[in-house]
Structures are given as structure tokens and as C-alpha cells.
Subunit: 571 residues, 2 copies
Amino acid sequence: MMKQITDGDLKAASPAQLKEYCNALREEIFRTVSVCGGHLSSNLGTVELTVALHRVFDLPHDKLIFDVGHQCYTHKLLSGRANTFHTLRKRGGLSGFPKRSESEYDCYDTGHAGTAISAALGFAKARDLKGETYNVIALVGDGSFNNGLVYEALNSIKILGSRVLIVLNDNGMSISPTVGGMHELLGEMKGKPPLDDVRLFERFGLSYRGVVNGNDLNELLPALEEAKNDLRHGSVLLHVSTKKGQGYSFCECAPVETHGVSPSQKQSEYNAALGEELCRLAELHPEIVAVTAAMTDNLGLRPFFEKYPARAFDVGICEEHASVLCASMAAAGMKPYYAIFSTFLERAFDEIIHDICAQELPVTLCIDRAGVSGADGETHQGVFDLSFLSFIPNLTVAIPKDIGEFRAMLRASADFRGPLAIRYPREGSEGAISDVKIGKFEVLHSTMSDITMLAAGERCLRIAEEVRGNALAEGLDVGLINARFLRPLDEELLLSLPQNTLITLEDNALIGGLGDAVARFYRARGIEKTVLNFGVGDRFLPHGEPKELMDDFGLGKADILAAMRKHYARG
Amino acid sequence: MMKQITDGDLKAASPAQLKEYCNALREEIFRTVSVCGGHLSSNLGTVELTVALHRVFDLPHDKLIFDVGHQCYTHKLLSGRANTFHTLRKRGGLSGFPKRSESEYDCYDTGHAGTAISAALGFAKARDLKGETYNVIALVGDGSFNNGLVYEALNSIKILGSRVLIVLNDNGMSISPTVGGMHELLGEMKGKPPLDDVRLFERFGLSYRGVVNGNDLNELLPALEEAKNDLRHGSVLLHVSTKKGQGYSFCECAPVETHGVSPSQKQSEYNAALGEELCRLAELHPEIVAVTAAMTDNLGLRPFFEKYPARAFDVGICEEHASVLCASMAAAGMKPYYAIFSTFLERAFDEIIHDICAQELPVTLCIDRAGVSGADGETHQGVFDLSFLSFIPNLTVAIPKDIGEFRAMLRASADFRGPLAIRYPREGSEGAISDVKIGKFEVLHSTMSDITMLAAGERCLRIAEEVRGNALAEGLDVGLINARFLRPLDEELLLSLPQNTLITLEDNALIGGLGDAVARFYRARGIEKTVLNFGVGDRFLPHGEPKELMDDFGLGKADILAAMRKHYARG
């Protein structure tokens, strides 16, 4: 555990001392992330920048907002959290993202890209309306500068007329390398006097300052002081160039691989299967294309991008645009696969409804990190996707029971002619590749008893198997069904079930998920069944181990078993 | 009914004949919209531009995509739909928006802002991959140029490397006048040689051409021919200046008021109450601010904007940014009211979850045009909001029974300290302003019989009252409850209800709405009730009269009455 460095220490430090502080911070981050997992290279890259911000500004009176927030570790270490930093990303410990509940130094929670400038403008406007005087700083990576929300915020600087400092942390990377017109523009600004391009930012009401080496305090501190001074007169964009992974050569050389580090031994990953299957299908189906929003590697699509570069598109952190691109390519005869993390798909909700589903276009959404996803916490828990996909007409929603079934679903998808969503967790087990028919469940254990379980997805099936084992040990026999489609449900099977008590399990919010769907199915037909639902309760899930979280927040085996015993006793 | 003009006619026409065609089209649009309602001034402004596009390009081989799509009337008249144009926006008649199901000239359905450039890129990319040769044109208003999705598309032009023509129809308006940095930039480009700003578009891979008077075919036709020629070498932005309402002086002078025209005699409007109440509350609560996304007038906020200009923000068509702005202002101590149409709120879904609700910030969402909204069709039916708000933790969702209750809810909201959504239709009846307690239903008719109805919102309560009247006439007594909160439900009341059969009514999708919530409530507690749900079935609702649509797609009185009779007979 490192000694707590305060902003007072930073303000009093000599250049040599500051450098020592940076070394200590960098070591502490490396040590902790090696144990706890987390975002490594992005935090290594921003040590000096964060130290400079804490030295030059008066936090928490001044407001510092981190875009995405995965680069806030130095900030946490500097704001009274050095002694708890070893709890990073652990249940009950520090979050890997800014959290207002954790410290007054965290003024605004983030987690998804592109919100910081909007949030800074909100704070600045509130400050002006209330006659307060603090500075507001948004720290934004160049990856987010591709995102439409950042542009919307830039566009409104003049409308709102409240002063903010935007520090553009330009390391040429999102999780994947940054792409697109804005990226090229920023890149050229690094190389030469950026006369034309400076004008662009001026148009939006920003005075431009840059480019500063963000890993060199000798450049950074005076530049930040000047920016702070300019901020008295208007909004400022300070363009800072940093090196992702700075200080650890293997991180500098592999910023994608060291963006996020996981401490645990990994099981097989669904994303590898996605890459393999899409490569295989693309050979047979020339109309297949793949689209991602700055997540090529995390989604397993690197092999596809390498094998089919002309049919693979990383459009940057642009979830909405990616959706419309898929819809329109489908309208023009292509077969697009759009791979994305569950919570980031929320950004494309409107386009899924109107562009993809209302037009009944054959776009396949490959939704990774679905369900309880663990250590990244609230903003990354994929526990709403079944709920927000459940009511969209024309959409088919599939939930594979393992990687083999995921492969089978992908194979079946190639000839499927409507909008399709397949949601799956990060890790899981392999398993046989057998045929999957759209809208057909699989009976895993049939029973003569009055209770059967319907479980969706690998983790819930595993819980169900364990509960079933425990029940059997007590002499209670229960059936188990792999409920692998939310839409359509397997109507034939549901109608044929003799059991009166059905128990549903899903790693999704209880509201709007599989449990509601099954209960609604019987209710609409006037069929009396007792349907008991287990899933995530009505709350935001904090960070922690998925298994623990599921156990504590709605999918505890003891609770399921207790419900079973109770209903057994009745029957 | 006007004579059908074909693209062949246009291509063969003399300048004088073209002008006559334009006059005839303009008259036909004016005449039809006067009867059927619809978008008036936007269509009057784009007659020449559409005629020029049809003359210069080879439709439907070439693909013309309308952003938003509310300006497609001339296009419909020119593409074989002159003889059905009198059915515009009527049930079973022509849609007011492009529809692939209607004509091969409509290659991509639109309705929400900002999708056209993404869609054009998708078509262009598919064309190139398939070795086809058509041109792709996106017609985009300057209002959409504020939208983040447009920026995301611009940013990916270089990534995708497929040629598109973007025709920027710059009339200085969204529905409200366009605002922001991009608007200023475009405005200056109209006035002088746009050297710096041209560079911006070049950065994004567009060669810039402009500015052309889009209401003058003598300027427009050669410019479009040149743009078409340039398009062989790369993507082109053609900047066209048009006058919204062109040709009808009262439309030119009042483009906001004549943007959309409604043929029917109006009832009272909820939006007027919103403006009045917010003005009233703002006097007492200096922390109240109001935010809209380019819809100030349609949402009734004009009085607030006039009375409190420093506390009122129209940020342009930027639904995401508006949400984050509200969340952050709330985090900084303000009390924001964000008024928006139901379907446009889908664009801010992610930010409602993570910025507003996960942080439990006191933002009030005033959701207008909720429920079946009629003549605008699929993209404007507010029938998903209860579903997509139902599962968001920390959110309170209110559904007023009339304008009086809406006023009461707004008054109660001023001291409410969490995220709150109030959803209401466009029109309704006044009604008394009496106290509303959060999470408390209102019993309108109690009954000794075994059936009671729970109805949400004015229109469903009206249906319920009528059904109840019919039932009483048959000797069946049924109760009626104003279920004015989806979250939280009135648990105390629900637990105390003696009836075994409950009937829910909502002008929302059945999946994920009030009916599911009530059934889930009892199911979770092991209480046996028969809960019958009436609402919108699992499909996209076409355009038509709201009353007719509700009758046909899930809320028919005869069906409800039949269900009641059946359960009465049982009981």
C-alpha cells in the first residue's frame, strides 16, 4: 500500500519530487491491477496528466469529470483512497470508475463513452446560474471524439455560454486504435501548426491549445496553468498527447491487450467462437459483413478483420451509426453481423427499433458481456438486454446454453431472414454443436414431478443443474429446460408441459425478462400455472464477482431450493 | 387529384414546364395537407430540390434517402403515388414518411433525425461490395446536422471509402430554428467564400459544393449535375439553401407553426399545461431549468423560454446530450425538466439509465406524445415508453389521467428528489387539480363484484368508463382504478383489492407495461389473481386515427367486454 499523497503535497513538490510521486503512482497502479485486474494501459498513460490536474486545479472545489472513467486510478490514489486502493474492483471495495458515492472528488459517475463534455457543461451552467465560481474540467480521450454525443456537446458550447476546459487526452486509441475523419484531423494537428483545424474548434466556441506532451510534466504544467488562465475568458480545448501504457514497455507495445487486464484464469471465451464462426460462414456467404464500434479485439473479430478486411468495419465508438449502417447494408442485400457489449447496445436502442426491426432487416446482433458481468460494476452489467429487447416487434432473441450452441445459432443465423439478437456472457464452456431450431427450447431433464425449471443461458443453467442436484439429494425431482429463445418462446413446448409449477432463471433484470414472458404466455391463454421467477432484482448491480453478485441479488441457490421445497410440499 | 408526373416527364421538360410542374406539386401538397394534415412548410420548401433530384438522377436505380423523411411528399407525388396522395396519413393510405413497403422509390424508412448519411453509406458500401453502380444520395436538413449520429456518419466516410452525395438542405430550421456551433458555421458559409469551413468537410472526406439556392431550378440543376459528376470521384456535400414554407407567404413567415398541420379540431393540449406549470413552479424554485431538443414550441415551452431565458435550453436535435446535461445540472444542484416526445426519448435510453437513474438524480422527464399517436405512424407511436422505463431502477413513472392531474403531478415533482418520468398524450381534457401522492392509485369506481379494471392514462380510462357503462347496462358491475403510477405500483391498494379478476388497460405495448407489472406484483407474492391485460399487441402500429388504431390493435371495447362477460360467468 502506498503512502497517501495529497494535493497539498503535489502543490508543494519540486519537479524532482513530482517525478517521484509519478513513479510511485505508476508502480502502485501496476501492482494493484496485476492483482485485482482492471484498466492498465489507459491508467499508466495518464499518471502525469492527472498529477498535473490535481496540482494546478483546486479539487474537489473545481470539478474534474472523466470521460468513460476507466482512466481514474491516479485520481483515486490522489484523493484519499490510497489506503483502500488494494480493494479496487472487489466486492465492497473501490470501483474502477468514478463514483459520487465514494468521494466528493468524484463529482459525476461515468462508464460509457462521450458523456464528459456534456456533463462539464451541465456543471458549468449550474455554477453560473447559482453564482458560484469553480472551474470545470472534462478529461476526454480521442476515442470518444468519434462519438456523436461529444459532437452534440461541442455543438452546444455556444448555446449554453458557460466556460469549460476540455482536456483532450490523445493517445490514438479507444480500446481499439482510433479511426475516422476526426482522428486524422487530430493526428495532423500533432504534426504541424494546425491553422485550419484550430478554426474548427473555434467555430464551436473553444480556444485551442496544443499539442502538449502529456507524459512530460515540464510541458504539461505550464500549459495547464495557461489553459486555466484562458478559462477565465472562455472555453478552452487543451490537446494533450499521451502514450497508452507509458512506463511499461510491454504495455506501450500492446495497448489493446493491456487496456483491460483480468486477474482470473479464463475459461473459453465466446468471442473466439464468434470470430471463428463468422470467418467460416463468410466463406460460404459473400453477403456477410461484420461491424464493430471500436471493439474489434474484445469481440473476437480480429480474425475476421484480417481475413475479410473489405467486409469488416470498425467505425469507432459510434454505436448508433453502426446500427444504421447495418440496417442499410441489409436493405441493400448484405447480411451484417453487429458485435457489441450488452450495455453499450443501449446506445443504439432507437436504431434497433426503427432502423433494424421496424424494417425487418436481417441484421444479427452479437451481444457480448450479457448478464452479470462483474468487476466493472453498474455501467457494465449486461442485465437489461432481455428487458429492452423483449418488446421489440419482429426481433428474435436467442440465449445459447454454451459455446457449442452459440456456434450452432450463428450457423443457423446465416439463412435467417429477420432481425436476430444472440446474447451471451464473456466466458463459458465449449459443448457440442448440434442443430438449433429458431424458437425451440431443449428439454435437458424431464420429470414426473410437478416442478420444472426454465433457465436461460449458461450460467443460469449451471445454477439450475446444481439446484437440481441438491433437490434430488433431498428426494425432490425437478425437470430442467434450456429456454434458449426469449422471442419467440417455444409455444408448443410450453403448452405441452404437464407441470403446474414452473421456475424461471435468468441473469437479467426480473422486470421484462424471461420470467415475465413465460408468465404472460400462460396468462394470455387463460392457463393456470404457478410461475416463480428468479433473476436480478430491481436495482443497479455494483462491482464484484459475477457468481457472488448473482448469489446475492436474485439467483441464490438456497432461495431457489427453498421455493422448490415449498411448492413440493403443496403439491 | 393531380395528374401523375413521371421522371421521364421531368427529364424531357423545358425550364418553363418544370416550373409549372413545381407549381402544380406545391398546390397539390398544400391542398392535401390542408385536408389530411401533415408536414407542410418542410415539403413546400423542398419541391424544386426534389424535382431536380428526380430529373438529374435515375430513380429508383439510384437511391435517394430522406433524413427524418417528413419532406418526402414531392417525392411521393413524383414516384407513381399522385393518384393515392389524397390518402396521405389516413389509415391504409400513404404514409407521411418513406416506406419500403409502399414503393421501390423508397429505399429506406426514416422518421427519426440523423440516420440518412449512415444509411447512404450502408447502401454505398453494399453497392461497392456487390459490384453494382448506382448513386446514393442523402437529403439531410441542417437541423439534423446538430445530431450526433450525423457526425458519427461523417466521421466514418473515410473509414468506409464508399462514395455518397449528401445534399444539405439548409433552411435554418429543425422544427424549431436550428441552433449551435454547426449552425453558425453553416450560416457563415452562406455569406462568404467558406475557405476554412470547406476544409472541415474535406477533413471528413467530402468535397464541398455550395451554396446553391434550392428554390431556383436554374441554380439547382447545374449544381446537381456537377455534384453528380464529382460523385464519380469521391463523396460530395452539396450545400443547398431553401426556404421553409416557400411559395405560401403565411408558411414562410411562420415555419414553426406550419411545420406540422393537424386537420382535426383540437382538444386541450397537455403541452400548454406544461408551459404554464413550469413557469409557475420556476418562480418559487430558482433551481428549476428546462431543456428541449429542438422542440420548444411543440412541447409547450415557449412561455417558459420567454419568461426564463437564462434557465431554458434548446440544444438542437441532441437527445443524448440533453439527457446528460440534465443529469449533470441536477448533480450540481439544479432541478431540470427535460421535455421530449416519447419515441425520441428512445435516443436517450442509455443516458436515462446511467446518467440519470444510476446516479438517482432529480431529473423530470416530461414525455409528450406517449401512447398511440396516430397519423405519423410507426416511427412516432409512443407505445414503448412504459416498457423501456419499467425496468430502470430508481425511476418513478407517472401516467396522469387528465391535464388537471398532470398539473398536480408537476407540482408534486418540484419537491421530489429522484428521477421522475411523466408520460402523457398530445391532447386530452382538463380536470380538477387535486393532490397526487407518489405511488398512490385512485379508486374511481369501487364495486362489490369480482372484477375491477386498472387503467393507465386518459385514453384508457375513457375506454374503461365506456366499457363499464356497457357492462352496467348488461347488469355487470365492475370497478375502475386510475393506475397512475407504473413505478412504484400502489402496493397497499393492490394488496387490499378483494376482486379476483383484474383487467389492465394501457396504450402501450403489452410486453413490459402495466399489465405485466400488476401480474408480476401478485406472482412475486404468491397471490392468486386472474390478471387480464389489454394493450398494444406485439407489432409496429401503422398510421391512422389513434382511436381506430387502439380499437383494432389491442384495446377494442368489444374484446374487453367479452373478457368481462366470460369471467363474470365463471365467478
